[in-house]
């Protein structure tokens, strides 16, 4: 992969990120929201105090001044204080980030793994029973809103059987050792990550199936067969690596949807991550939180897209070696 390719992609990602930052700035200045409503009536703030607070929030002066302050503080990762909790936004986010990282991470890994596996197998054996069953199944998964899965799982699995906790991140205050606390967290993760996985499995599987079908007619597969390779090896060594390529970028773009899925899933399971924070922040019109959450989510997707682009570059020698 040439440096030029890498640099180009990195610059592209940074530009998009910057666009998000700018977009954020304007978007949240359109909303009419009193930044000091939290303090209204609860303590007697003098006019000077109010002005000082507004100034500290970067909400005074011309739009340009505000923009400069905004950019500077964004670069310092200073997103101000939450309108709602009055805690620093960064702290709120730092508190909730790990939970979402784990949930989205595990679900994404499972989704990609299982989705690609099913898609590859279905595409390879097009028209077979496995293909028909799995494609129908993945289509239904694809058509089902993930929160509906969540509702059903919650009702049937958690509500009826009690095998899994109905929500939360862990058993609070329980007396657990290291291993037990790990298991406890895993236990709490099962239903939310299952929800998120089921919710997005379908699209990944369909994407992979399509790109598998695209490779099916390729001559190099005939070459591989002619060489005497087993069908399974033809698939794993020749078809899958090629079919993965177009999937990579489509999958990267889908990350944005998984982030959306995290919002509903975390809501259904009261799972205290960034998704739930987003839902709450929107409900409260907590602009500083929203701004930061939006930036974090965008940055995550932009970053993952960059990773996907670079992975693509690594996987595809045609890009890797292009100058």
């Amino acid at each position: 992969m040439s440096n030029r390719y890498v640099i180009k992609k990195i610059i592209g990602a940074l530009l998009t990120l910057f666009a998000v930052v700018v977009f954020n700035f304007f978007l949240f200045r359109i909303v009419d929201r009193d930044p000091l409503s939290k303090y209204r009536g609860r303590s007697k703030l003098s006019l000077e105090q109010r002005e000082a607070m507004i100034r500290r929030m970067g909400l005074s002066g011309s739009k340009w001044d505000q923009f400069v302050v905004y950019i500077k503080s964004t670069l310092r990762l200073d997103f101000g204080r939450s309108f709602d909790s009055t805690r620093p936004v960064l702290r709120e986010i730092a508190d909730r980030l790990p939970a979402t990282l784990i949930l989205v991470g595990i679900s994404t890994a499972l989704t990609i793994g299982i989705g690609l596996y099913i898609g590859a197998k279905a595409g390879w054996a097009r028209g077979s029973r496995f293909d028909r069953v799995s494609t129908s199944g993945t289509m239904v998964l694809y058509a089902t809103p993930e929160f509906f899965f969540g509702m059903l799982l919650l009702a049937i699995v958690a509500g009826r059987t009690g095998w899994f906790p109905t929500g939360g991140l862990r058993d609070i205050g329980a007396n657990y050792g290291f291993v037990d606390s790990l298991l406890d967290r895993a236990h709490h993760l099962v239903l939310p990550s299952l929800t998120l996985t089921l919710g997005y499995l379908g699209s990944y599987s369909l994407i992979m199936r399509t790109s598998m079908l695209e490779t099916l007619g390729e001559d190099y597969l005939t070459t591989a067969r002619a060489k005497g390779l087993k069908e399974s090896d033809v698939m794993t060594h020749h078809a899958v690596p090629n079919a993965l390529l177009p999937s990579v970028s489509v999958i990267a773009i889908s990350f944005g949807f998984v982030i959306g899925g995290a919002i509903t899933t975390e809501t259904v399971f009261s799972y205290p991550g960034l998704g739930l924070a987003t839902a709450d922040a929107i409900r409260n019109t907590d602009l500083p939180m929203l701004q930061a959450l939006f930036l974090v989510a965008s940055a995550a997707v932009i970053f993952l897209n960059l990773v996907a682009d670079l992975t693509y570059g690594l996987l595809d020698p045609r890009i890797r070696h292009s100058t």
Partner: protein, 303 residues
């Protein structure tokens, strides 16, 4: 056909061609079991949505409509799908909900496809700085996480079905722009476009005669595949409480089912029908759209 050709005007011939093309699409669709059943399901839902006033009176949707009805009652002869938590007929809400959900899904798609096609067409046909800028904007909308953006816009713009549809449309055009652009780029390289240029055609001719007819099927197929996404988004927004509370969309019904505890109470008639409607319509649109894709894009034949 050959014997009557001499009498057919060029315009008639074009019509004949269109008719034949349509007939071909129809024939192939008939032969595509999943795509055709998707179409039938959609027609069914469309019919229900159109005939909603005939099936259930609009006044049944009013909060006070359940005045003399039992709350959360199971299906019965009087209430085929039972009642909701304030005693209203669920079937009536489902029927009217199909209107809202389909309207938002389709209107949002129209918005998305219009923006997407225009951007895609321009970015594909015009090269240089304009295309670069358009692609950057497209990339932005492609990469920025869509649901938070849609929610924020919904909060800013309000919650009526129309604004909701606009929001969803405005946030989901990027993919089709990309698709259209790729197709336009590939069409521009085709021999027949080159040939038309060599014949002396200007851009208008090339776009109208070759590029647009070439991308149109793709746009139609793509649109059919955007609708389910828009319906899903609407249901998600409504479920999260950002929909229009006074319009009984399916997502709204699910929200109501969830907040009234119908799942815990085993009131399946409240949460299953809207969920299944969403799944069915999304599935039907997806099957239909994929079938159109197969028909319009021979490359995908046999999928």
């Amino acid at each position: 056909m050959s014997d009557s050709v001499a009498s057919i005007s060029p315009r008639g011939m074009t019509w004949a061609r269109r008719k034949r093309a349509l007939a071909r699409v129809w024939r192939e669709l008939r032969n595509d079991r999943s795509g055709f059943s998707g179409l039938l399901i959609l027609l069914g839902f469309g019919l229900v949505a159109l005939c909603a006033p005939l099936i259930a009176d609009r006044s049944l949707l009013l909060a006070a409509a359940g005045r003399n009805n039992p709350d959360l009652a199971g299906p019965s002869a009087k209430f085929l799908l039972g009642t909701d938590d304030i005693g209203r007929d669920i079937l009536a809400q489902l029927v009217w909900g199909s209107r809202v959900s389909l309207f938002i899904g389709i209107f949002a798609t129209v918005v998305a496809v219009l923006i997407g096609s225009l951007v895609g067409l321009v970015a594909g046909y015009v090269k240089g700085k304009v295309a670069t800028v358009l692609l950057a904007i497209d990339n932005f909308f492609l990469v920025v996480p869509f649901l938070p953006l849609a929610i924020v816009l919904a909060v800013i713009l309000g919650r009526s079905p129309v604004t909701l549809a606009l929001v969803i449309g405005f946030t989901s055009w990027a993919g089709s722009a990309r698709l259209v652009r790729a197709q336009v780029l590939s069409l521009s390289e085709r021999g027949y476009v080159e040939r038309a240029r060599a014949l002396g055609a200007n851009s208008r001719h090339v776009i109208l005669r070759h590029i647009l007819p070439g991308v149109a099927p793709l746009i139609i197929a793509n649109a059919t595949l955007i609708v389910p996404g828009a319906i899903l988004t609407e249901s998600t927004l409504s479920f999260l409480g950002f929909g229009d509370r006074l319009s009984p969309s399916w997502g709204k019904l699910l929200d109501g089912a969830q907040s009234s505890g119908s799942i815990t109470l085993n009131a399946w008639w409240y949460y299953l029908p809207p969920g299944l409607c969403i799944i069915t319509v999304v599935l039907a649109f997806t099957l239909f759209g994929r079938a159109l894709e197969r028909i319009f894009d021979p490359r995908l034949a046999g999928r």
